[in-house]
């Protein structure tokens, strides 16, 4: 057990990686064995993540230095600079890792029956594992160049999965657009890394942060990082790839793509809070993020209303919900230098934003999975052709209702808990933003009423006389997420205090992060 805890950070990344390489070989033996193997591996990873989470919450940040002769000593003896790659697992990283592990497992379980009738499944599961590796790698890394490498793994595997259905042209088109944007973005991140390297001769995030001078080059690097990661998480007006990619990917992949965008969001926060923190002009950068967030909220939800492709509609809602997170974190960043304001409402806004991340991963994942279930039985995503499905698929209808009420911020579901945190704290910062957020919430409810009405309500349509409830593994996948939503809704206090508050504190306290890695400098 001690061995597992000590090596947990690398095992969480290396085991799915090993499994991904082995999956191609195993599926040559038997497809059934491969399915069991993938599920086992992802469950074991979830177990490891929870173990590591317990360790992080009891004894603080974990550092794992790869390839040295001791796991935790970052700098070689006699030198004050870390030369090896290290994994740093603090509250924020483990928070994202929990989300990633849960959603990956659910996605894999759901895929068992959803993807059964398609060919190329060995590559599908390989890519699915690699995608979760990419996310874990981005979340745990403490090194700028390593971040770039795992960003590429994540974007390549997710693009390949978006283009999985090659019998039509649209998935390839969506994947190509996503790929071009993420390639340019990743290369810009590499350029920013090169700027840091040129000035400080360091690639380690803590080392760069401790040497940060905020010169013109740092400003350019900051601009590049903010723009790229905001684009990767789908902030308006760089969101155009999101509806394309989300609507054309297979449903379990879409649920994972949501988490992938949140990993980029995490990278944005890591860059702004840990690399720069108070050296930067907090108010300006905070307002940039707030404006991106508000635009995302408003344009996302208004564009969602007239859509008639159910997954495209949900993709626009994903953009709109990303706006809430950006708003919450942006307010936290804007008051970062001001201790009073930070304690009175800034930290609460950040907690709200972070809590919204985990809530959003759960309910948006659930909604995309129910959309996949609808597609599975009807063969269409067009809302105009649907109706009366609740007669035959009562469980899916209930799951959809849970997700829809949660995303609209209806009490007592979890969406409400995080939204009220954002409303109240943002109201103190700027009342207009808060009111806008409420309006967006109402519009969200309105458009989900539309989906629910046109897909599930109404008389039973003649063309869907023979539909049946979806297979068991899909129900299990959706059931897990609904259970999590209700759990988070009923016990918001426990969730906020155990996993969200450490994440917010880890982001704000740059000093303790640097001290932990470089020693008391």
């Amino acid at each position: 057990m001690n061995f597992l805890i000590l090596h947990a950070p690398i095992l969480i990344i290396a085991i799915p990686l090993l499994a991904a390489f082995a999956t191609l070989l195993i599926s040559k033996i038997s497809p059934k064995l491969r399915n069991i193997f993938v599920i086992t591996v992802l469950s074991f990873v979830l177990f490891l993540v929870l173990l590591l989470a317990h360790q992080v919450y009891t004894s603080g940040m974990q550092v794992y230095v790869l390839g040295s002769n001791q796991t935790t000593v970052a700098t070689p003896s006699g030198y004050s600079i870390p030369v090896r790659i290290m994994l740093t697992v603090d509250g924020a990283s483990i928070f994202m890792a929990i989300i990633t592990a849960i959603v990956s497992l659910v996605g894999a379980i759901y895929s068992l029956s959803f993807m059964k009738k398609y060919s190329g499944l060995d590559k599908y599961y390989t890519l699915l594992l690699l995608m979760s590796v990419g996310m874990f790698g981005m979340e745990f890394t403490g090194d700028m160049f390593n971040l770039f490498v795992f960003l590429e793994i994540l974007s390549i595997s997710s693009c390949a999965l978006v283009a999985f259905w090659t019998h039509k042209g649209e998935p390839s088109e969506a994947a190509f657009k996503y790929m071009v944007l993420s390639c340019i973005g990743a290369l810009f991140v590499l350029f920013a890394t090169a700027l840091f390297y040129g000035q400080y001769n360091a690639l380690n995030i803590a080392m760069i942060a401790s040497r940060m001078k905020y010169s013109l080059l740092d400003k350019i690097a900051l601009g590049l990082l903010v723009a790229v990661f905001a684009m990767k998480c789908g902030a308006v007006p760089m969101h155009m790839w999101t509806p394309d990619a989300y609507s054309k990917a297979p449903a379990p992949i879409t649920a994972m793509l949501v988490v992938a965008s949140q990993a980029s969001l995490y990278a944005l926060f890591r860059g702004v809070f840990t690399l720069y923190n108070v050296t930067l002009n907090c108010l300006t950068v905070g307002w940039i993020i707030i404006i991106l967030g508000v635009l995302s909220m408003f344009i996302g939800v208004t564009m969602a209303l007239p859509q008639h492709d159910v997954k495209r509609l949900m993709a626009y809602h994903a953009i709109s919900q990303t706006g809430y997170m950006l708003l919450g974190i942006g307010v936290g960043l804007a008051v970062l230098g001001d201790t009073n304001a930070l304690n009175s409402y800034g930290l609460m806004a950040m907690k709200g934003g972070l809590f919204h991340i985990i809530n959003h991963a759960m309910y948006k994942g659930l909604l995309f999975l129910t959309a996949g279930a609808i597609f599975y039985v009807t063969g269409t995503r067009d809302l105009n052709k649907m109706g009366g499905l609740a007669h035959k698929m009562p469980l899916t209808a209930i799951f959809f209702m849970i997700g829809a009420l949660s995303i609209a911020g209806m009490p007592p579901f979890n969406g409400f808990a995080s939204k009220i945190m954002i409303y109240e704290s943002v109201y103190k910062f700027n009342p207009v933003l808060s009111i806008l957020a409420m309006v967006v919430s109402i519009l969200t409810l309105a458009s989900f009423v539309k989906v629910f009405h046109s897909a599930f309500m109404g008389p039973q349509l003649p063309e869907y006389k023979n539909v049946k409830e979806v297979p068991k593994s899909m129900l299990i996948g959706m059931g897990i997420l609904s259970f999590m939503i209700i759990l988070f809704g009923v016990f918001p206090d426990i969730v906020v205090n155990t996993i969200v508050a450490p994440a917010a504190n880890a982001l704000v306290n740059q000093g303790s992060y640097i001290t932990k890695i470089l020693g008391g400098a």
Binding site: M240, V278, N384, E424, K428, A455
Partner: protein, 114 residues
């Protein structure tokens, strides 16, 4: 345990769940006051006034018709928005580079931090 303290207020899901249950009971009680001798199928006919019963598919309001008024009144807005969402890869890169330019200018003009 159930109460989430935000700094200005609090939020307790249990109260809401209890309120919801009470509401359900009230509705159930109200429903039990209704006519108990309702017969399915036969008593609809007076409402149709002798007309034939419409097909099931026609009764259902399709998605395209919901919120028609809303989109109609915001026609100009939606026109601009659809113009922006061209689906052209060059435009995607346009927007990305444009926002990058704005952020770079704002960040570098606004000067140092603390």
């Amino acid at each position: 345990m159930f109460t989430l303290e935000t700094n200005t207020g609090f939020w307790n899901p249990i109260i809401w769940i209890i309120a919801f249950l009470v509401l359900c009971i009230v509705i159930y009680v109200l429903r039990s006051f209704g006519e108990s001798s309702y017969k399915k199928g036969e008593q609809i006919k007076p409402f149709l006034s002798g007309n034939p019963e419409p097909e099931k598919g026609d009764v259902h309001i399709r998605a395209g018709n919901i919120y028609w008024g809303f989109t109609e009144s915001l026609k100009e807005y939606y026109k601009t928005m659809t113009n922006i969402h061209t689906g052209d890869i060059n435009d995607y890169v346009y927007w990305f580079i444009g926002i990058l330019a704005i952020i770079l200018v704002v960040v570098s003009v606004s000067g140092g931090g603390l």
